[in-house]
Amino acid sequence: MVIKEVTVLNATGLHARPASMFVQTAGKFKSKIFVIKEENSINAKSIMGIMAGGISQGTTVQIKAEGEDEAAAVDALVELINNKFGE
């Protein structure tokens, strides 16, 4: 299991387009991936879960993955957030 903490920097947070980019990236990995915000654990492959998660600019979350490609999955998603989704 790999966990990394990251702060969402892009202006809109995980809304609309960034949310769908995030979910599509997560979908490329075999591991189970979760976004942990405070006490809540959200399935990173669920567009509805991510959008309903209310993750806005400045929110710090943990990305947790468990499975054969867990390290790569966490790195890819953290990088996406740090790059502000290419904005």
Partner: protein
């Protein structure tokens, strides 16, 4: 025979047999089951069927409506594959022993509520998508077969509770002649779709699905907002006559498209359109508008997830300017605040947002943001006749302040060697009473005025027109408003080269047309569809007569008296609305 009254959503008259397109109301019991595996299998089979149906609909939508509308169904497909959705349904089946149908129903509703309660139009739209998809899966589980709207053997009027994008996308548009639904408003999906397909529609009929049966003869009158069920022969005959008259009326208006808006005695005015985005110019051109009197640029900002950059704005403004090589395009700078917010621009809650930090006031606070827009407009100005308009100006000081910032932008462009139109026209929107009263002072600083009657009326009469308790006080025909309009036009007439337009709803109101003409308004800006009718009225009156009617109106005591006076005068002059 009986008649039901609803909301006018799309004009026209349709006479055809009803097709009741029944959905939802399938009662799903909270039935428990014995075997979870069977129910889960049922659920997955329904998911697969739904995927296949959506693929077909998407192909049809893309080819008939375009990529953008087709994309909705790709979003629907994503919901079907969503692990949160699928796992939640499975959990209800496993843990609570609910049958597949009930599990889908409650999970759909749960997600619907999460999105529906979010205070953001983007998410409310997603809520509707979730409901649409959930209903589809539910129908597939229960084996409910809906009427296939893509295969119709005769002309029909669709009677439904409400219509979703997936319903309208698959319809055989040649056979569907009208819509009548239980719910919906002028801005709901069904209404927008009906207008773009030019199908008459009456919505908000409450229980039309229960009062009509498939095969009943129905008249949908989208002009009066009524639906006649099982009409007798004479009613059908008169509906047919009205339909012919309506078609002739449309043809007459269409014939006016390329004619000038000129009175019988040769006084010419300009009729232009209000637009929210570049695509709206199509409607303005189609209806014979010679330019744009109000380009509401805030939609460019509101439809974007991040602040639109200079190049993105330039592209939008340029495309509008190029659509009117000979006509003016009045670009209103950002009018945000009040009830309009941007997700990427934090704004504090205010006690009185309509009297607070909005429009030009906000732009003075966020100068960097304001300058990006001004630079984009200036750069676009070489592609046509750009006019820059500042909204919510309350005094000449603000006009001067805005012009200083505009000058800075011009200087920056010059220093970078970027071309712009040095004669770009600068004007203000007159929507605050203090600006109307001091129009003669402001006139010295600008090239044009555009009167925004919606806000001018709200601020003058101290009435929130969305508040049903007091909205009856909102009346653009009130002599107070007419006198302010006259004062502004007079100030512009006394300043050489100035012109005055109007971009509020009043300028598209057929009853107001003669008064505004008579008061000396130079430019009328309105939603595109109103242009032909206003042109017809202007072309059928003498300017001299309009001036007399307007002057008489100014001395009347109430808004009602003004309306009565206009209607009577039009009757005397044999001008039909």
């Amino acid at each position: 025979m009986f008649i039901k009254e609803g909301i006018i959503a799309s004009p026209g008259i349709a006479i055809a047999k009803a097709l009741v397109y029944e959905k939802v109301v399938v009662e799903v019991s909270q039935a428990k089951h014995e075997d979870s595996a069977v129910e889960i299998k049922k659920f997955h089979l329904a998911l697969k069927q739904s995927q296949e149906q959506l693929e077909k609909i998407q192909i049809k939508a893309v080819s008939e409506l375009g990529e953008e509308d087709g994309a909705i169904f790709a979003a629907h497909a994503m919901i079907l594959e969503d692990p949160e959705f699928v796992e939640s349904v499975e959990a209800e089946i496993n843990d609570h022993k609910f049958c597949a149908a009930y599990a889908v129903k409650i999970v759909t509703h749960r997600f619907f509520l999460i999105f529906d309660e979010m205070d953001d139009p983007y998410f409310s739209a997603r809520a509707a998508d979730i409901k649409d998809v959930g209903t589809r899966v539910l129908h597939n589980i229960l084996g409910v077969v809906l009427a296939d709207l893509s295969k119709l053997s005769e002309n029909v009027i669709i009677i439904a509770d409400d219509l979703t994008p997936s319903d309208t996308a698959q319809m055989d548009k040649k056979k569907v002649k009208g819509f009548a639904t239980n719910i919906g408003s002028r801005t709901s999906h069904t209404a927008i779709m009906a207008r773009s397909l030019e199908i008459p529609a009456v919505l908000g009929l409450t229980d039309i699905t229960e009062t009509v049966s498939t095969g009943d003869m129905v008249i949908v009158d989208g002009l009066k907002g009524i639906v006649t069920i099982n009409p007798d022969a004479s009613q059908i005959k008169s509906a047919e006559e009205e339909l012919l008259a309506y078609q002739a009326h449309l043809k007459e208006l269409e014939g006016l498209k390329d004619l000038d808006a000129i009175t019988l005695d040769g006084h010419k005015v300009e009729l232009v359109g209000n637009i929210g985005e570049p695509g709206d110019v199509i409607g303005v051109l189609k209806n014979g508008g010679v330019g744009v009197g109000l380009y509401r640029t805030e939609f460019l900002y509101m439809n974007s997830e991040t602040m639109p950059g200079e190049d993105k704005q330039l592209a939008a403004y340029r495309s509008v300017l190029e659509a009117f090589p000979d006509g003016p395009v009045i670009i209103r700078t950002l009018d945000i605040g009040g009830d309009k917010k941007l997700p990427y621009l934090p704004m504090d809650d205010e006690l009185n947002p309509f009297l607070g930090l909005r429009a030009i006031r906000l732009c003075f606070k966020e100068v960097a943001l304001f300058k990006i827009q001004l630079r984009a407009i200036l750069r676009a100005s070489v592609y046509g006749h750009a006019h820059i308009m500042f909204p919510m100006v309350s005094s000449v000081t603000e006009v001067r302040q805005a012009k200083v910032i505009l000058k800075e932008c011009m200087k920056e462009l010059e220093e970078s060697g970027i071309p712009y139109d040095k004669d770009v026209k600068v004007g203000v929107m007159i929507e605050i009473p203090s600006a109307a009263i001091t129009a003669d002072i402001i006139a010295k600083e600008v090239d044009f005025f555009s009167i925004g009657t919606n806000d001018l009326c709200q601020y003058t009469m101290a009435v929130d027109r969305m508040n049903q308790e007091v909205s009856y006080l909102y009346d653009p025909f009130n002599p107070a408003i007419l006198r302010l309009v006259k004062q502004v036009i007079q100030a512009s007439n006394n300043a050489p080269g100035l012109f005055t337009g109007m971009c509020g709803e009043m300028s598209g109101d057929p009853i107001a047309a003669i008064i505004l003409l008579g008061l000396g308004l130079d430019e009328f800006s309105m939603s595109a569809i109103a242009i032909p009718q206003i042109k017809k009225i202007i072309r059928s009156v003498r300017y001299e007569d309009a001036r007399v009617i307007a002057n008489e109106a100014l001395n009347l005591e109430t808004g009602e008296a003004v309306v009565d006076h206009v209607l009577e005068s039009m009757k005397k002059l044999k001008i039909n609305i």
